[in-house]
Symmetry: C2
Subunit: 485 residues, 2 copies
């Protein structure tokens, strides 16, 4: 053990040692029944006489903070009932450089910080149903990986990502119409990190990123934190409105287009085939990279699949980003990006500078799971179940909500997107809804211009049983009725 | 399956489908024996007539790319010997925005990219001995966590990090003289991410960060990538030279001081007690935050422990960063930071924007391992072993290297730092050393001004057996002899 002694101060060393343990015990840093270091060892560590340490321990004992066990050592007693106040963050006077730090309103706070309540139906969540996740299979695969790979499962591993996982992703993507070579795939800590790497590489402070309006709140948080200018393009039932883009490009000179062409978050719409071709052509003409976020591209319940923008890429124009978070489990933190050309190596180096590499063990486990064909089966099962839940939510919305609340039936993904009538805002509704035992993701967090989202809210249908969906939407209907009274 | 069909082009749809699979099979995206989608399903996915798909498949078969199995489906044949050339990254013409991307020389490339060779002794590595890691214990703990926590082990979890792990770290730190409340601890993806978060928050492009010269190459990479101005302060046997700092602060106005006071990487020296107090006082007076990187603080083999800068922090001045990568395994990617005041919440939000959260499963496993007291035992074992290896390397250096190669005996950590005599550079030596079967981390990658490092090199003693150490240093001695001939 080491801690600071001040040999120049007037305070005797034994008192300094005593004070250190006293503060630690009272603040809870040293737990009851924790053993203090042997006096001989501590004396050596601190470079003091052993008697000095023993005097300090004796004083702590007489104050009822520790006790001696003969032949064993010195142990912490449970804290006295009247513990001393611990230094409080809020009251401390922090250095001047800390006073200038400002904290922007964060999407995740708004979306996730519901008050704890046993019965709250949390339609605000952003992931699929964890109950679907094949825990047992994953547990066994983890065991297999640990036995098979030993310490190599826990080293840094390949800085681009575990090579067999990159090959596996290449095959998964081939099934989705994207021909990506493993050398062009970089494993990231979720798709969030992939978006962060691209934005950090391609834009500098004050430059413009073009997004759909609305868009994923976590991306907005990120872009704002990087002090970028965020310009929104309106979305309709066919996705991003591509019509005015030519003029807009000239006007705002974006350095990046961030888009979710499939089951767009939060609206659930898909970009039409024609617009996909137009967007690619326009971006090429204006020399603007496209960041395609395909976070749930495979969770389709109706209609025909559209080609990914990446599949239309004439070469090096599109950075494609996806993740296993929505399909499997978010805690795996395993996403990836696909890019060709100099940008790929730049992104890989950015990854290294940010956190060196992704967890090697988890990558190996994901690879094991996907390779044995369980992934495709899991996906089919998820689609079947989520489709029925979407239908249940649509039925409940028609049953319990007033006619003037609008919504589109998403053809895939996790969410339904609702528009409240004029005069009724999500902000008004949320506290009442929570009282009724249901929550939702409020519109403003999804819009570059927050005010545009006042009337909107997002509901997750994928993570809930039909009964919960029915009950949750019923409560939402009640809450709307109550606000209108 | 979905991929792009162009209905406006002159090419018939069946030929487009055929071309898609042909390219995929020849490039290896579709593996031999992979099953193509059933024609009925693919026709539905693509919105075409089933006959169109079957025509495409028949053409692929007559070209020897696939075969039919009656009652089963269409399968990919092994690729023909003369595969078509695949689109090559180097030759493709990438968009203009890609041409402007420049790739800086990266520390990790220089340090880690040794040519593969069975017999190469890789003194360049940056971690401890993976053979020490208690694999079986960790495997069992992973099982326990999966069984005990189920899906909650694989969800996003607490965005600040798994709460019991933060409490455990608080106790570990109390033993190192740092009293940190769990609420002031943020779990990160290794210490690299903690450094990245602090730098991104506290500095803007062009602003100045002060580092030791030499310093950790991964931090230099990061700071350069963020386009910061990096100013180095010389290091001697007592660590960073604090004397001239007052004037230097006035001159370059740094926004952050990045320092490794314990077993500094690469030099292995410790900042003296007196300089610790001076540095804290100076930084406080000039209102400059300190980022303390305590990457191997507990791996001490001789001498007395010095207090961490964090332990001397008058309040909110020091951001403390550490990791389990060096003590346990780097692949765990589990580091943490400690900070008080507004900066803490800002760093936490930065973490969220970058990658949402650290792997929940791994955090739970680390917590399980540390809590049951195995961590302290592991640390004692590591110190004992590494000390004997350091001594073995010192003996070998005295035996095999010419007298004019200088080095300091580090009192802890993983590395020894060598200075070659004038006229002999690490750059000259490295290729010859590799031919002899040994490598090292070259000096220039550790210096803000690369030229300052021409005569230096870093050797890792911790990851090698005594015989390897002896043999490796012997080879190094031979290489030096050879260069001098």
């Amino acid at each position: 053990m080491r801690f600071a002694l001040d040999r120049e101060s007037g305070t005797p060393l034994y008192q300094q040692i005593e004070a250190y343990f006293r503060a630690g015990i009272l603040s809870g840093s040293f737990l009851p029944e924790a053993r203090l270091p042997a006096s001989r060892q501590l004396a050596r560590d601190l470079g003091v006489n052993r008697m000095t340490v023993e005097t300090a321990y004796a004083n702590l004992e007489s104050d009822g903070l520790v006790y001696f066990k003969v032949g064993s050592g010195t142990y912490v007693l449970p804290p006295p009932v009247l513990a001393l106040p611990v230094k409080d963050n809020a009251q401390a006077l922090f250095p001047a450089w800390q006073q200038t730090l400002q904290l922007p309103l964060s999407f995740s706070d708004e979306t996730l910080a519901a008050p704890a309540g046993a019965d709250l139906i949390r339609f605000a969540v952003g992931s699929g149903d964890p109950g679907l996740f094949p825990l047992d299979a994953m547990r066994k695969i983890l065991q297999t990986v640990m036995r098979r790979d030993g310490v190599s499962a826990l080293g840094y591993g390949d800085l681009y990502g575990y090579a067999p996982l990159r090959a596996t992703i290449s095959h998964v993507l081939a099934n989705q119409g994207i021909q990506a070579r493993p050398e062009n795939i970089l494993i990231t800590s979720g798709s969030q990190q992939a978006i962060a790497l691209a934005a950090q590489l391609l834009l500098r402070e004050g430059e413009t990123v073009l997004v759909e309006s609305p868009t994923y709140g976590g991306a907005l948080d990120l872009f704002r934190k990087l002090r970028l200018r965020v310009v929104g393009v309106p979305v309709d039932g066919n996705g991003m409105q591509v019509d005015g883009l030519d003029a807009l490009f000239e006007q705002v000179r974006p350095r990046l287009i961030y888009t979710m062409p499939n089951f767009h978050n939060p609206s659930g719409v898909c970009l039409s085939n024609q617009r996909r071709h137009e967007l690619i052509a326009l971006a090429g003409r204006h020399n603007i990279p496209i960041l395609e976020d395909d976070y749930v591209g495979d969770l389709r319940y109706d209609g025909h699949a559209q080609p990914a923008l990446k599949a239309l890429d004439p070469g090096g124009q599109v950075i494609y980003v996806s993740t296993f978070s929505k399909m499997l489990m978010p805690g795996l933190r395993t996403g990836f990006l696909v890019a060709e050309g100099p940008v790929f190596e730049n992104l890989a180096q950015g990854k290294r500078a940010t956190d060196l590499a992704a967890s090697n063990l988890i990558q190996r486990a994901v690879e094991g799971y996907v390779t044995v064909g369980r992934y495709q089966a899991h996906l089919r099962r998820s689609c079947q179940l989520y489709k029925s839940r979407r239908d249940a939510m649509l039925a409940a919305l028609r049953r319990y909500l007033p006619r003037d609340v609008q919504f589109i039936a998403s053809r895939g993904g996790l969410f339904l997107w609702l528009q409240l009538p004029d005069g009724l805002t999500a902000e008004q509704l949320l506290p009442i809804a929570r009282e009724q035992g249901v929550d939702f993701a409020s519109g403003p967090g999804f819009f570059p211009n927050r005010a545009d989202g006042a009337n909107f809210l997002r509901l997750n249908f994928a993570a809930f049983h039909r009964e919960q969906i029915n009950e949750g939407v019923r409560r939402l209907g009640q809450a709307i009725g109550q606000v209108r009274k």
